[in-house]
C-alpha cells in the first residue's frame, strides 16, 4: 500500500508549478527572507535575485518544501548543451533519519509510508535536522518547530494525489503506488538507455529505498544529492562497536601501560633495591 512519487527529471521543464502548488495547498507563505523593505513602499518587495541560473529560492526551507534546481552544462563552444532541472523535496526514506532521531516521536510514518512531523508534539529540539542526509528538514523560528514535505498527508489520506504532482504539467512528478511507479521508472530508464543516454534511478537503494525517487540524467551529486547517503542512526552499531572497541583498546592499552609501569617500577624498585 506504500505510496510515493517518481520524479522523472528528464521531462521536467523547470516551470516551478510544483513549488507554488505546494505552497498553495499547504498554506505556506513566501519565504520572508526573500523580501525586504523599500523606502516609501508599504508592502514587501522581493530582493532575492541570485544569478544562479533561474533558481532564486536556493534551498528547501521551513516554507519551501519544494525546490527546483537549475543546472547549466554548456561548454564554451556551445557544442555540448544541457540545462538540467530537478524538483527536490523530502524523499520519505524507508529508513528515515529524522524519525529515528526524534525524541518525542513527533515524527511518525503513516500507514501510506509517508513521514510526517506532528506540529503538536514537536518540541523544536532540532535533533532531526542533522539526521537528514538530504538537508530536507528545516526549523521555523516562527513556530519553533521543524517542517518539511508531508507528501500532502491530508490529500493522500483522502484519495487525492500530491499537490505538486497534480500541478506538474508534463507528468515529471507522478504520485501513486510505489510498485506502479517503479514499473514506470524502469521502463523509462530502459528507453533512455536504449538511446544511449546515461540515465540512472536514484532512490531504489538509498536509505533503504526512497518513497520519492528520481530519474537523473547525470550523477546524483550534479543534482545536489549525496551519492552515498547514510542515515546517522545506521552508523549506530558500527559507531557503537568502534566506540566499544576503542574503549576496550584504550582500556587494554592503559592496562598494559599500567602493568608495564608497575613492572618498570618493580624493575626500578629492583634497581633501587
Amino acid at each position: 500500500m506504500a505510496k510515493g512519487m517518481f520524479v522523472d527529471t528528464t521531462i521536467c521543464t523547470g516551470c516551478k508549478a510544483c513549488q507554488v502548488a505546494c505552497k498553495q495547498w499547504n498554506g505556506l507563505s513566501a519565504e520572508p527572507a526573500h523580501f525586504g523593505k523599500r523606502p516609501g513602499v508599504p508592502y514587501p518587495v522581493a530582493d532575492n535575485f541570485t544569478g544562479d541560473s533561474y533558481d532564486n529560492t536556493g534551498t528547501l526551507s521551513a516554507t519551501d518544501w519544494r525546490h527546483v534546481r537549475f543546472i547549466e552544462q554548456i561548454d564554451e563552444s556551445r557544442r555540448e548543451k544541457r540545462w538540467l532541472f530537478s524538483s527536490d523535496s523530502c524523499k520519505h526514506c524507508s529508513d528515515a533519519g529524522c524519525l529515528n532521531a526524534c525524541p518525542t516521536k513527533a515524527i511518525v510514518r503513516t500507514d501510506l509510508g509517508n513521514v510526517v512531523v506532528q506540529q503538536e508534539t514537536c518540541i523544536g529540539c532540532k535533533f532531526c535536522i542533522p539526521s537528514c542526509p538530504y538537508g530536507v528538514i528545516s526549523f521555523s523560528e516562527e513556530t519553533g518547530t521543524a517542517h518539511k514535505c508531508t507528501l500532502c498527508n491530508d490529500r493522500i489520506h483522502n484519495g487525492l494525489g500530491t499537490a505538486c504532482a497534480k500541478a506538474c504539467p508534463t507528468g515529471s512528478i507522478r504520485f501513486g503506488e510505489l510498485a506502479d511507479l517503479k514499473k514506470r521508472a524502469d521502463a523509462r530508464l530502459a528507453q533512455l538507455k536504449g538511446k544511449g543516454e546515461k540515465a540512472r534511478i536514484y532512490g531504489y537503494e538509498e536509505a533503504d529505498g526512497l518513497k520519492v525517487f528520481y530519474l537523473f540524467a547525470d550523477r546524483p551529486k550534479v543534482y545536489g544529492q549525496p551519492e552515498d547517503p547514510v542515515v546517522p542512526q545506521r552508523r549506530l552499531v558500527l559507531c557503537s562497536l568502534v566506540t566499544i572497541l576503542t574503549a576496550l583498546g584504550v582500556g587494554a592499552a592503559a592496562l598494559v601501560n599500567f602493568r608495564e609501569r608497575l613492572n618498570g617500577r618493580d624493575e626500578e624498585e629492583s634497581h633501587e633495591s
Binding site: I11, A30, F49, E72, W83
Partner: protein, 848 residues
C-alpha cells in the same frame, strides 16, 4: 521556431514531450537562445534574431531541390492538387531577383505596393450566374472572375513553383551561415529531418508564437512556414500544420470575437470609411467579391446575420439592417498609432481592461506620456497597475519630467473579477472552446468585465433613449439584453451578472422568428431571418440549453466530445487534404477524413433515388469540406462557395480552393517571404540591397527615434521575452509573493563573452540604453546566450524579459522603455523581438 513553448505555454508543452517520450518524435528548437524549451529538445540550433526567413527559405530551397521531394509521387500529388504551385501568375510580375529585393508594384515613394501584377492568369469570366440565391448573392454572381490558369506539369516559367524555385535559389546553406550565424551542418540537420519526417506515412508540425509575429516581417515569417508545410504535404493532416501558440488564455477567442479594431466577429472586415463601403451592398461586394468562389461566398449570410444580431428587430431590409449606424473605422487605429494619437491630444477617454500599456506597450515611456494627455481613463484590474498609477509614481514623475498637478487625466480604478469568479468560455490556441464555471463571487466591488460592459451599455442606452439624433440610432437600437435567469444567479451574491449563456447563444446564432439556436452555419440566411454574432462559432449551442463548450468526454485522439472546436467541431482545418486526390487516406498511419463512395449521402437525385457517396471521419472529426462533393467533381464556373469549388479544392476558404504558396492578394508587403533585416540591425542585409521591409509601419515622431543600420552607438541586438514565472506585464503575477520570489526583479541575460568585454559581473547591475530610454537590470551571465558571427562580424545579443514595473511585490525597470514603435505592415504588431541597444556594467546614473 519563434516559440519558447516550454516556458510560455508550459501546459501545452506536455504534448510535444509526450510525442517524444511515447512516440519517438524528434523535437527541434531553432532559436537565438538556449531556453527551457531547447533543454527538452533533441536538437537546438541557435540563429540570430530576425534571420528566420533565411533559415526557412533555405529549407524550402533544400526541399524542392531534393531527390526525395522530386521522386516520391506523394509530394507531386499533394502539391499539384492542393496548392497553387501549378497556377500561372501574371507575366508582369517581377520578383526580388529582378528588382534586387523588392517586388513589382512598389509605389514610386517606396512606401506601398499595388498588387495587380501579383495576380493569377485567368480564363475569361463566366457568363452571368443564375440568380435567386438572395439579394446580395445574386449581385456577387454577376462579378465572378474566370478560373485561374494552371500548368499541371509545373514547368511554365510563370507557374508558382517555378517562381518559388527562382526566388529561393539564393537561400543556400552558405547564406544561412552568413546571415543566421549557424553552421551549414546544423542547418542541414534541421532541413533533412523535416523532409524525412514529412510524406505519406509521417507528418511534421511547426509551432510558433510571438517570436515570429513580433517583427516588421512577422506575417511573412509565418507565411514561409506555411509554404514549407504545404510543399511538404503537412497541412490538413494529423500531426501536421503550423500551430500558432496564442499569447495567453483565450486570445484566440478575443480575436474571433474581434477585439481587433479592423475586424468584426468571425473575421468579417470592419466597415471602413476609406473603402467603398457606402452601403451594406457596397460593403458585401467589396469584401466578398474577391473571395466569393470560396466558402466566403456565404459572406452575405454571415454579414446580414451579424447585423441582425447587433440591432435585433430594428434591423430590417429597408434600413440595410442598420448598416449605416454601425461604427466605421477611418484610419489605422491599431495600438501604436492610437497611442500616438492619444499623445497628440486626439483621444479623450481610454478604457484599459486586461492590459497594462505603461509596462507592456512598445516605447512605454511615450505611451505613459500619452496617458497624461487624456481627459479620463478607466482601468479595471486586480491591483493598481503601473497604467493606473502612472500619474503619481511613474519614472517620469520621479524624474520631474511630469508633475501630478499638471496631469489632467482623471483615473478611475475599478476592481476586476478573476477568472474563477465568473462563468464563460476560453477559446484556446487550437480553436477549442472550453466552458469554465464560476467558483466564487468576486470580493467586494470587484466585477467581471462582462458585468461592467453590460451595465455600462445599459446606462448609455438609458441616457440616449430619448435622443432624436439619427447618429444615436445605433446605441438606441443595440440588441443588449443578457439578463440572467433566476437560476443562473441563484447561488451567488451578485444578482445582476449578465448571462454568459445568452451571450454565447447570440454568438452561436438563432432563427429570428422563434429564437431557436442554429445547429450549423449552413442554416444562416441573408434575408434577415437569422441572427448570428459570429458564424464560425455556430454549433456551440446547437439547441436551447445545450452548451457544447461544456462537453467533457475525452478519448484517445481527436476527442470530438470534449468542448467544441470551431468551425463545426473541425479540429484539423482543411482536413480534406488528409485524403489523396481520389479521396483515399494517404496512409493507414495518417488517415483522418476519406471519401466513402457507397455511403448514403442522405440526398436524393431528381428521380428520387438515394445518392451514394460522402466524406466520412471514423474518429468523429468534423469534416472541413462539402459533405457530398465527390473527389472527381468539377465545380461550376458561374457559382459561389462550395458550388464553385471542385472535389480537390481542399482549402475551402481560399478563392481558388488551394493552399497559397504564392499570395496573389491579401498581403501588403509582397507575395513571397523575402529576408529583410529587422528595422534596427547591426548588419547590412546580405541577401538583397533592400535593407528592411520597405513598407514596414514606422512613426518618425518625437520620442520615437530609430537607430541606424550598424549604428556604432547601439551595436548590440536585444530581444524581449517572457519567463514561465510571470504573466505578461506582471499584473497577474508580480503582486503574488509566491511568484514574486521565483523571479524577483528585472534581469538581463548576457553571454560570458560580452560580460568579459564589458566588465559585467553575474548578479551585478547593468544599464541598457537606446535612443528611447535607459534602464537598469541585474545581469544573468550564461552560456545559454551566445554571440554570433555574421558575415565575419561578431554580433552580440542580450535577452530581456519584460515582466517588471515599479508596482507590485516584484519590481524592476520597464524593459519596453527601450523599444521603438515600429511594426509589421500587415497586422501592425510591433518589432519587440529584435532591436538594437548598448549595455554597460553598473547602475543607471553611473552608480556601481
Amino acid at each position: 521556431m519563434g516559440s519558447n513553448m516550454a516556458e510560455c505555454h508550459p501546459v501545452a508543452f506536455r504534448w510535444p514531450l509526450k510525442a517524444k517520450t511515447d512516440h519517438g518524435a524528434v523535437l527541434m528548437h531553432v532559436d537565438p537562445r538556449f531556453t527551457r524549451t531547447s533543454a527538452a529538445c533533441d536538437v537546438h540550433v541557435p540563429i540570430r534574431a530576425g534571420s528566420d526567413i533565411v533559415f526557412l527559405g533555405a529549407i524550402i530551397n533544400h526541399v524542392i531541390n531534393s531527390r526525395r521531394w522530386n521522386e516520391d509521387p506523394f509530394y507531386r500529388e499533394y502539391v499539384v492538387n492542393y496548392t497553387n504551385a501549378a497556377t500561372l501568375v501574371n507575366p508582369d510580375f517581377k520578383g526580388t531577383e529582378e528588382l534586387d529585393g523588392v517586388f513589382s508594384g512598389l509605389a514610386p515613394d517606396g512606401k506601398s505596393y499595388a498588387n495587380a501584377s501579383w495576380s493569377y492568369q485567368r480564363n475569361p469570366a463566366p457568363g452571368k450566374g443564375k440568380g435567386g440565391l438572395g439579394p446580395f448573392s445574386d449581385l456577387l454572381l454577376q462579378q465572378l472572375p474566370g478560373r485561374p490558369k494552371t500548368d499541371p506539369t509545373m514547368q511554365d516559367p510563370h507557374c508558382v513553383l517555378q517562381i518559388i524555385k527562382r526566388h529561393y535559389a539564393r537561400y543556400t546553406p552558405a547564406l544561412v551561415e552568413k546571415v543566421c550565424g549557424c553552421s551549414p551542418e546544423q542547418f542541414i540537420k534541421v532541413a533533412q529531418t523535416m523532409l524525412e519526417n514529412s510524406g505519406r506515412e509521417k507528418t511534421a508540425n511547426i509551432t510558433y508564437a510571438v517570436g515570429w509575429t513580433q517583427h516588421t516581417v512577422g506575417v511573412q515569417i509565418i507565411r514561409a512556414a506555411a509554404m514549407l508545410q504545404a510543399l511538404l504535404g503537412n497541412i490538413g493532416r494529423p500531426g501536421g500544420g503550423v500551430l500558432a501558440l496564442r499569447g495567453h488564455a483565450t486570445i484566440q477567442g478575443s480575436t474571433d470575437i474581434a477585439t481587433l479594431y479592423h475586424s468584426l466577429p468571425a473575421y468579417l472586415n470592419m466597415p471602413d470609411g476609406r473603402k467603398k463601403h457606402d452601403s451594406l451592398k457596397d460593403f458585401i461586394l467589396t469584401e466578398a467579391g474577391p473571395v466569393a468562389t470560396s466558402y466566403w461566398g456565404n459572406y452575405p449570410k454571415f454579414a446580414v446575420s451579424y447585423f441582425k444580431a447587433q440591432f435585433g428587430a430594428a434591423a430590417t431590409a429597408e434600413n440595410d439592417y442598420g448598416y449605416d449606424y454601425h461604427p466605421k473605422i477611418t484610419g489605422d487605429h491599431s495600438h501604436m498609432p492610437m497611442m500616438l494619437d492619444m499623445g497628440a491630444g486626439k483621444i479623450k477617454g481610454f478604457f484599459v481592461m486586461g492590459q497594462n500599456p505603461a509596462v507592456g506597450g512598445q516605447n512605454a515611456r511615450l505611451q505613459r506620456k500619452a496617458l497624461a494627455k487624456l481627459d479620463w481613463m478607466v482601468v479595471r484590474d486586480y491591483f493598481e497597475t503601473e497604467t493606473a498609477s502612472f500619474w503619481r509614481n511613474s519614472p517620469e514623475i520621479l524624474s520631474g519630467e511630469l508633475k501630478p498637478a499638471d496631469i489632467k487625466t482623471e483615473v478611475f480604478f475599478l476592481p476586476a473579477a478573476a477568472v474563477a469568479e465568473m462563468e464563460g468560455s476560453f477559446t484556446n490556441t487550437q480553436r477549442l472552446l472550453q466552458q469554465h464555471d464560476k467558483a466564487a463571487d468576486p470580493p467586494g466591488d470587484a466585477r467581471s468585465d462582462s458585468w461592467f460592459t453590460y451595465h455600462l451599455g445599459k446606462r448609455l442606452q438609458a441616457m440616449y433613449r430619448d435622443s432624436g439624433n439619427p447618429l444615436d440610432w445605433g446605441i438606441r437600437n443595440l440588441a443588449w439584453d443578457y439578463e440572467p435567469e433566476a437560476k443562473e444567479v441563484a447561488p451567488w451574491r451578485i444578482k445582476d451578472e449578465p448571462s454568459a449563456y445568452r451571450v454565447l447563444k447570440e454568438i452561436n446564432g438563432y432563427t429570428v422568428a422563434d429564437g431557436k439556436p442554429l445547429a450549423t452555419f449552413a442554416n444562416l440566411k441573408e434575408d434577415g431571418t437569422t441572427a448570428c454574432g459570429a458564424w464560425i462559432y455556430t454549433g456551440v449551442v446547437p439547441e436551447e440549453g445545450k452548451n457544447n463548450a461544456a462537453r467533457r468526454k475525452p478519448d484517445e485522439w481527436i476527442s470530438p466530445n470534449w468542448g467544441f472546436a470551431w468551425p463545426a467541431n473541425r479540429h484539423i482545418m482543411y482536413n480534406r487534404a488528409s485524403a489523396d486526390s481520389q479521396g483515399r487516406p494517404w496512409s493507414e498511419a495518417k488517415k483522418l477524413v476519406m471519401w466513402d463512395p457507397d455511403a448514403d449521402s442522405g440526398t436524393k437525385d431528381p428521380a428520387g433515388n438515394p445518392v451514394r457517396g460522402k466524406w466520412i471521419a471514423p474518429s468523429g472529426e468534423g469534416i472541413d469540406f462539402q459533405p457530398t462533393k465527390a473527389p472527381a467533381m468539377v465545380g461550376k464556373d458561374a457559382a459561389l462557395g462550395f458550388d464553385w469549388l471542385s472535389g480537390n479544392d481542399a482549402f475551402i476558404m481560399r478563392a481558388d480552393g488551394k493552399a497559397w504558396l504564392f499570395a496573389p492578394a491579401g498581403l501588403v508587403d509582397g507575395p513571397l517571404p523575402a529576408h529583410y533585416e529587422p528595422y534596427e540591425s547591426p548588419v547590412a542585409n546580405r541577401v538583397y540591397r533592400q535593407q528592411s521591409n520597405p513598407v514596414a509601419k514606422v512613426w518618425r515622431t518625437e520620442g520615437n527615434v530609430y537607430h541606424g543600420v550598424a549604428d556604432p552607438k547601439y551595436p548590440i541586438v536585444v530581444s524581449t521575452y517572457r519567463v514561465t514565472e510571470h504573466h505578461l506585464s506582471g499584473t497577474m503575477s508580480r503582486w503574488l509573493p509566491w511568484l514574486a520570489e521565483l523571479m524577483p526583479e528585472l534581469f538581463c541575460e548576457v553571454s560570458p563573452e560580452l560580460a568579459a568585454e564589458k566588465g559585467i559581473r553575474n548578479a551585478g547591475y547593468v544599464t541598457i540604453v537606446t535612443a528611447r530610454g535607459e534602464i537598469e537590470a541585474r545581469a544573468l551571465v550564461t552560456r545559454r546566450i551566445k554571440p554570433f558571427v555574421i558575415d565575419g562580424k561578431k554580433v552580440h545579443e542580450i535577452g530581456l524579459p519584460w515582466h517588471w514595473g515599479w508596482q507590485g511585490n516584484a519590481k524592476g525597470d520597464v524593459a519596453n522603455d527601450l523599444s521603438a514603435m515600429v511594426g509589421d505592415p500587415n497586422v501592425s504588431i510591433h518589432e519587440g523581438k529584435v532591436f538594437t541597444c548598448d549595455i554597460r556594467a553598473g547602475r543607471k546614473g553611473g552608480r556601481s
